[in-house]
């Protein structure tokens, strides 16, 4: 560690439901080194100034998806955002937008989790296979069809980025639809039709107006906007096919 520590001002949106009527900002002066992340800045505050500052974190390596915050108004993973990039200006951290604030930087994710659960995020085999038969084979192309959509870490930055979710919390939203698409595109899965009911529902893809910011903020290059919009086309096809053939399209 170098001797001459620099100081950065961190402005934190604080909210304690038991004592605050509404959120308010507080400023802390935090000494930092160039390798310190915004998360470490928050930890510094908790360790040294106020143990009641509340936020989620774990892995510190941008993979567990816990530490998302609004950093100067942009949803980011605080563990891979560095204080040095903001110094000497003040940095403001707030709970992820569009979610209810539970306390300080912690938001209520229960709605998001319900959405994840609702999309049937598991393989419903097209052809059953026993363990003795070994693995399913997947060509490089079949693999490429879905692999991008498997890399979502459920950080919900895309929800904090999507105004349509902010306006309508029932919207299934980018990450959950990306995961749904991941299973639909997997050659081992055969349940795309079952999942269509949700895709095409009022909570489904047509809430999206192609703002596209979800994909801009996604730290894992999942491109959820793409998943959502491809499924609009799929849902529209399904909608019209319904009229053409009794079998085509779901219910």
């Amino acid at each position: 560690m170098s001797e001459n520590l620099k100081i950065i001002e961190i402005e934190v949106l604080r909210y304690h439901p038991e004592s605050d009527r509404e959120p308010h900002l507080e400023v802390y002066k935090v000494p930092f080194t160039d390798d310190m992340s915004v998360l470490q800045g928050a930890q510094y505050i908790k360790d040294n100034f106020d143990g009641s500052l509340t936020f989620r974190w774990s892995c510190r390596m941008a993979i567990c998806g816990s530490c998302g915050m609004m950093i100067n108004g942009i949803p980011k993973l605080s563990c891979e955002t560095f204080l040095r990039d903001y110094h000497p200006n003040r940095i403001r951290i707030e709970a992820l937008a569009h979610f209810p604030i539970e306390k300080d930087l912690v938001v209520d994710l229960s709605g998001f989790i319900e959405k994840l659960e609702s999309i049937q995020p598991y393989i419903i085999p097209k052809e059953p296979r026993s363990l003795e038969q070994g693995e399913y084979l997947q060509s490089p192309q079949q693999f490429n069809d879905y692999i991008q959509f498997t890399s979502c870490i459920n950080c919900t930055l895309c929800y904090a980025a999507c105004p349509q979710f902010g306006l309508n919390p029932d919207f299934i939203g980018p990450a959950a639809i990306a995961l749904l698409h991941r299973y639909n595109m997997d050659s081992r899965d055969g349940a795309a039709e079952e999942r269509m009911e949700l895709v095409a529902s009022e909570e489904g893809v047509f809430n999206c107006s192609a703002v596209g910011y979800c994909s801009v903020v996604c730290p894992k290059h999942v491109d959820p906007a793409n998943a959502v919009n491809i499924n609009k086309t799929n849902a529209a096809k399904d909608y019209f096919l319904r009229f053409l053939s009794p079998k085509g399209g779901s219910k």
Binding site: S118, E197, L198, E202, F206, K251
Partner: protein, 122 residues
Amino acid sequence: MKSGLKRSNAPIFWGLFGAGGMFSALFGPMLVFITGIAVPLGLMLPANTMSYAKMMAFAQNIIGKGFILAVIALFLWFAAHRIFHSLHEIGIHAGVGAKLLCYGSAFIATVISAVVLLSLGF
């Protein structure tokens, strides 16, 4: 899977929106240039480009009818859909009213265009 999901009827509007968006992106600028700038100013194009005779001929031709209807109706369906969404986005939740106003106008315009085009004969 949640039960009691209601199927969205957005595909109809979304389809028209998409078609109109694409149509206006491809042809919009040039159309504006021709009808709103070049012809009135007599730039580039022959002076009689939009004369009554030529336009009647165009509007009586089946392809011409189709093109005119597509331009007016699709442009309006596209715009109606976006405007309706934008109203919602800036916090005007007029709900059914806004919906009726936006899509209703597009619908009426479509009907008027169709009626006029039909009345012009073939």
